[in-house]
Amino acid sequence: MYDPTDFPLRQDYLNTVTSSCDSICGVSRWFNAIACSASEQQIKHMERFGFVKSIQKMRSTPVSASNEKSIALEEDTLDVHESILYAQTERMQYSLLKEKGYTGKGVRVAIFDAGFPEVNTNDCFSHIMQHKRIVATYDFVRNKENVYRASNHGTHVLSCIAGIKEDVPMGCATDAEFLLARSENAFIEIREEEDNWIESLEWADKMGADIVNSSLGYTVQFYFRDEMNGQVSIISRAANLALSKGILVVNSAGNEGDESWEIIGSPADADSVLTIGGIEPWTGMHTGFSSYGPTSDLRMKPNLSAFSFVVTALGRNTGTSFSSPLVAGFAACIRQMHPEWTAKQLFDELQKSGDLHPYFDYAHGFGVPQASYFLNADDKKTSPAFRMEWDKEKNVVKVLDVKPTTDSTTFKDIHSQWYRNFCYDEPLDYLYWQIVQPDGLIKYYEVVQPGDDVAAVIHNSNCPQCTVRIYYKGKFTEIPWAQLIKQLSIKQPDESNENLEPKN
């Protein structure tokens, strides 16, 4: 199968451009493009070539989506370490996959990162090295094959896809095959890295990659927030092309959630990229630093979530950089399970497997993917399951009749119940609610821990056309606000009343 974007560039065009610029930085089949270093005069000269459709100035500097902040744990014990190690895969129901033999066998995963030192020597990867499952490597920064050097960010990432530590898997796809590409120079900022990323993607395509993991994000240094629409950044556009070529690109949401940038970066903004946000292991909630959606053109991002506090071959690490490979490994197992699916189908089904699905919010996406969805075709209950009450005086709808756990658990308490809490039989005791505009934009959302008498208080959205969506322990309710008010046998409040705005 091929399409015109797979054709190589015409050699005579390439020769002409080569002779007209200082140096060639990269070549893209997909975009039928050449990246080169050229002076203004040379650019003007090249503009006159009949085969040149347009010239764009490039800019680039990647930022690894890892977070160097130390893990905010009260205790740094082996138990904590082990709990996270088990839970980072088990939160996605890894055991079910393993039991059925889905460990990514035969699936080829490409990883774009800043370097992979110790991958060839560390015991955590010996099962991969012994079976020669690193199919190819290439350092696009130095144009050499050796990638086992430079930043160890890629080593952490590979751990979260396929590493095994003391017989415990750190990722789901322990039997997958790998393509390791160094596209990023973590130590200096150079303009060619965006080209490297695209070259890596095309290389991965040529090498038969099924899934790409890229734990990179490009934000404030090179873009404005309004440019996060999947169309401005060239790597976002390339990532969009990848899906049509059968490659699922999994990318971290970024660590800007508590920074002024706050939203996802590029290429996580691309429509066809499976963008992964981060959750805390000990609460199951969105991690403060994980970047939020939506995109600037109001598309739903992130798509899914996974742990952003992980154990890797080199110790512990934090960041959505590691949420992404956890899901990439999971996706490899599902690809093994369903080789007949297109990449788009895989993308859609992974979204549906989220433990919050069909509920979605811009912090958690559809939640953490669950293997049971694929193994049991687990249908989610979608019937209304809450009793609600209209408090006319306070102009709010109260959600009643949920049975919260009222234990006031400290971190230590949670820690002792950790495994049980992460890999729960009972869903976590959080109630999610949101108000959705008619155009599909989630206008406002909250996550609450239900109280004794009232589970949640939903403030009047001052938007009769909006829909209220509530999710609690697998039960999902979606009801237009007007209908809700009618059902609760009350009058529609005056729209002009300013007090109806959600209160902060």
Binding site: V220, R225, S260, K443, Y445, V454
Partner: protein, 270 residues
Amino acid sequence: MRVRKRFKLAITVFTLLTMQLVTNAQKTLLRKDVLKQNERNEKPDFGPNGNWYLTNVMGFSLTLPINESDSLGIRNSASSNQLYYGVRYKGKINEYFSAGFDMFYMRQGFRIKQDSARNLLSLGYENNKQRIAFHNIGVSVFARINFDKRGNYLGKYIDFAGELHYVVGERLFTKNNVDPALHNGASMIRTNASKLDYTRNIQQYGVVRFGWSHVVLSARYRISDLFNASQNINAGMKLPELPRLSIGLEILVPSQSSYEDVPEDFEEIE
């Protein structure tokens, strides 16, 4: 009436407190107002790559002798330097061009090598140590060229600037070891002379700056002379000039965040 209001308030507070004690109210863990979040997607007016930007500037530069005369004039580069602090306003013209101005205070110091020509304060012999300091207030205008497209970020750029300094004060310091027998028991004499009639009040500079975000490498060349001729020193002859070139480093500190702080609505509640 007022007493009644207070009574009502007290009752309300009491009731709320009591309710808190007896019920486990819902606890909001995360709340987001997406409409407010999206408002911030608009390109900011203020910012490193906004329509305007204001930063504090702190700079330090070392005098760099570029010819033999310069080398004779000062003891060494490290001890002859410029320290300045000010504000820089930048207005954006387009993605690649911007312009702006600085206002600043600068202290210039030169440690002067001693010879007959530079023995500024004629004591009849060469001083052991002598330095001259200028306290200037200055303004500059600059044109900036950026090298690449970028987000709300200063990026890499080159500035071409012209500076005008007004000397608000100047001091000449000397230090000499002397014979205590001839100087009332003092073995050292320090002098501090001001209101010098042989220095110019106005100085002009040409400046080139290479910036990488908020770190800037600057080169400053004095176009005008430091000294006037004075009938009172050097037999009415103008003093030799001190080195004109200095090279240094500037740090820019934003006057305010280019993006608004994350509003309270966005807080994640522990």
